[in-house]
């Protein structure tokens, strides 16, 4: 076992690199003088770049490793790259934010790296306990990130709410894992699938396990009826972390949900399809309808992210390669538009995250036209207007739904997209149709924030006008995925 174990270590080089750099940043932070601590941002970006190289080096090395615990396939590599993009944008967006709010930059960036490790492990796990450990790595890092503004009562409250509900839902998920283990004597996803197919597992236990696992993942990805924490947490969190939370854990949660449902429990499809179907419909309606009446833009984006989780659930329900490819496309492009939108919200909110209401955007289109134009692109993309990546993503998901004969899901999805246009456009109307207040203070820009916004705009337009490249990449990475 000596040799084989050592030979398999390159398969987790991405995670090792991120962990080592994260620890290095933490330790370096305590030894450097205060004036040099912002070096953490550069180190974190270098770590992410190095990890991307390692991850791309895994292309074509498909297989399972570490006694079947880690799986390398196109799906996991695509998702790992998505998480690295999310991480890089978060690191960039939070560096200027942390300086503005007087937060510890080193700890901030190290925790973002640890969170990426957790997400990567979730995407690459082929084993329920590994999934649990990845999820907890992600969750514990995000509990701390949410509460990192220690003297801010709202940040405390966000951290506490997410912590309590997060660990509550982890307990449900863990119980589901225990029951699945009890029914099949294994926690390996493929082995569970084989045991169920062979008919040697108690189906009652399996159904209960699937239900409990769905509760656990449902909390993490914020689908109705497990969404109640979302608006409070996104509102109270430091804004770059709201951006991160709305895309990173969501993508990771969906990755795991898809893998678990398709690899381990295809035999229970008839049962979990009902859950997913109902939850998708409720999630779309609740998210969009409650978003209509929000006056705080962070809460509006929170409900919008709930609604988007509903669209992604439609992709899960299709259970075919086209749907999974659409899911991959959607999570990546959604990450770009949401991080971009939240970054602008963070800039406009000024120091202390105070100006987050719709009225604070009045006149932005005249005072700072570049910023307003970028925000308009993000919001139009979230609404799914053609020529943006958001439209392409929704198009692929609904087409996959139609191909799998989920006509009603597709119709409800399109209807909901139409509802959502109203609240996204409302922000744009306020920016361009209302006068700026007399005591207008200019929004302070920083080069790192500009980089995040520019990259996101470029990505959205690129994948919106020429979606073929990304979707064919996504399709080729789910080949062999049933």
């Amino acid at each position: 076992m000596d040799g084989s174990l050592a030979l398999e270590i390159p398969q987790i080089f991405p995670e090792i690199a991120l962990s080592v750099f994260g620890i290095a940043i933490l330790l370096l932070d305590t030894f450097l003088p205060k004036s040099k601590r912002h070096a953490a941002t550069g180190i974190a970006l270098a770590a992410i770049a190095l990890t991307a190289v390692f991850t791309l080096g895994l292309v074509g090395e498909d297989g399972t490793f570490f006694s079947g615990m880690i799986v390398v396939d196109g799906f996991s590599i695509f998702l790992r790259i998505t998480f690295l993009v999310v991480g890089a944008l978060t690191v960039l967006a939070s560096s200027s934010y942390a300086t503005r709010e007087n937060l510890a930059v080193g700890e901030f960036q190290a925790l973002v790296l640890f969170a990426i490790v957790g997400m990567n492990l979730m995407a690459a796990s082929n084993e329920l306990i590994m999934i649990f450990l990845g999820l907890e790595t992600l969750s514990i890092a995000s509990y701390i990130l949410l509460g990192i503004k220690r003297s801010d009562a709202k940040s405390n409250e966000a951290a506490l709410k997410y912590f309590l509900l997060g660990s509550f839902s982890s307990a449900f998920m863990l119980y589901g894992i225990a029951l699945a283990y009890g029914a099949t004597r294994t926690t390996n996803l493929e082995a569970i699938g084989r045991e169920i197919a062979a008919g040697s597992a108690g189906m009652t236990l399996i159904y209960v396990a699937v239900g409990l696992l769905f509760v656990g993942f449902g909390f993490k990805v914020a689908v109705v009826p497990f969404h109640v924490w979302t608006p409070d947490v996104y509102e109270g969190a430091p804004t770059p972390i709201s951006a991160f939370m709305s895309v990173g854990p969501k993508a990771a949660g969906f990755a795991v949900l898809v893998r678990v449902l398709m690899v381990a429990f295809p035999a229970a499809y008839a049962k979990w399809l009902g859950l997913v179907w109902l939850s998708a419909v409720l999630t779309m309606f609740v998210g969009n309808c409650v978003a209509l009446v929000q006056s705080n833009i962070k809460r509006m984006l929170a409900y919008s992210s709930i609604a988007h989780a509903g669209y992604i659930l439609v992709a899960v329900a299709t259970r075919n390669q086209e749907g999974v490819a659409a899911l991959l496309f959607y999570t990546l492009t959604y990450a770009l538009m949401n991080i971009g939108a939240f970054t602008i919200v963070s800039l406009v909110s000024r120091q202390g995250d105070r100006k987050t209401y719709l009225d604070d955007y009045a006149g932005l289109g005249f005072k700072q036209p570049g910023l307003a134009a970028a925000l308009s692109i993000f919001l139009l993309s979230l609404a799914g207007i053609p020529l943006t990546a958001g439209f392409a993503g929704k198009f692929f998901i609904f087409r996959a739904a139609l191909e799998s004969k989920f006509v009603w899901l597709a119709i409800i999805g399109v209807l909901n997209s139409a509802i959502s246009v109203y609240y996204y456009l409302r922000v744009i109307v306020v920016m361009y149709m209302k006068e700026a207040p007399d005591d207008w203070s200019p929004v302070a820009m920083s080069s790192s924030a500009i980089a995040v916004i520019a990259l996101s705009v470029l990505g959205i337009l690129q994948f919106g006008i020429f979606p073929d490249m990304l979707i064919s990449l996504a399709r080729s990475s789910v080949i062999g995925y049933r």
Binding site: D2, A6, I23, L26, L27, T30
Partner: protein, 117 residues
């Protein structure tokens, strides 16, 4: 059940000994009552706060650090049981584990978490 008889015997002996000591000291011990003697802390000064008062927040920090380092050590136990069978692979795995734990220790130390004030 016979195997458990010595255990039962031990319970009985312990209960009897403890009971005997409590009863004997209550009966035989000298009793001198007085205002000072009956005060909650018989050491010369008035209690200045109730024992149900809040803990100093530092205790929680110590408790957190204790929980973490205490529980992480639990992974050493299964390794210790089969450490010969695992050989060098096991050794290096646990070495890296301890190294990561040590990094956490250095971080806590440099942050001043071990300082009382």
């Amino acid at each position: 059940m016979r195997n458990y008889f010595p255990l039962l015997l031990m319970f009985v002996v312990v209960a009897a000994t403890v009971g005997a000591i409590i009863v004997l000291s209550a009966v035989l011990g000298p009793k001198r009552r007085g205002k000072v003697k009956d005060s909650p802390f018989e050491c010369g000064f008035q209690p200045f706060q109730l024992p149900t008062d809040r803990f100093f927040v530092r205790f929680y920090l110590i408790a957190m650090l204790f929980i973490l380092f205490d529980i992480e050590v639990v992974f050493l136990f299964p390794w210790a049981v089969v450490f010969k069978a695992l050989g060098w692979a096991g050794f290096w795995s646990i070495f890296i584990f301890i190294f990561v734990l040590g990094a956490g220790y250095v971080y806590a130390w440099r942050k001043g978490a071990f300082q009382w004030e």
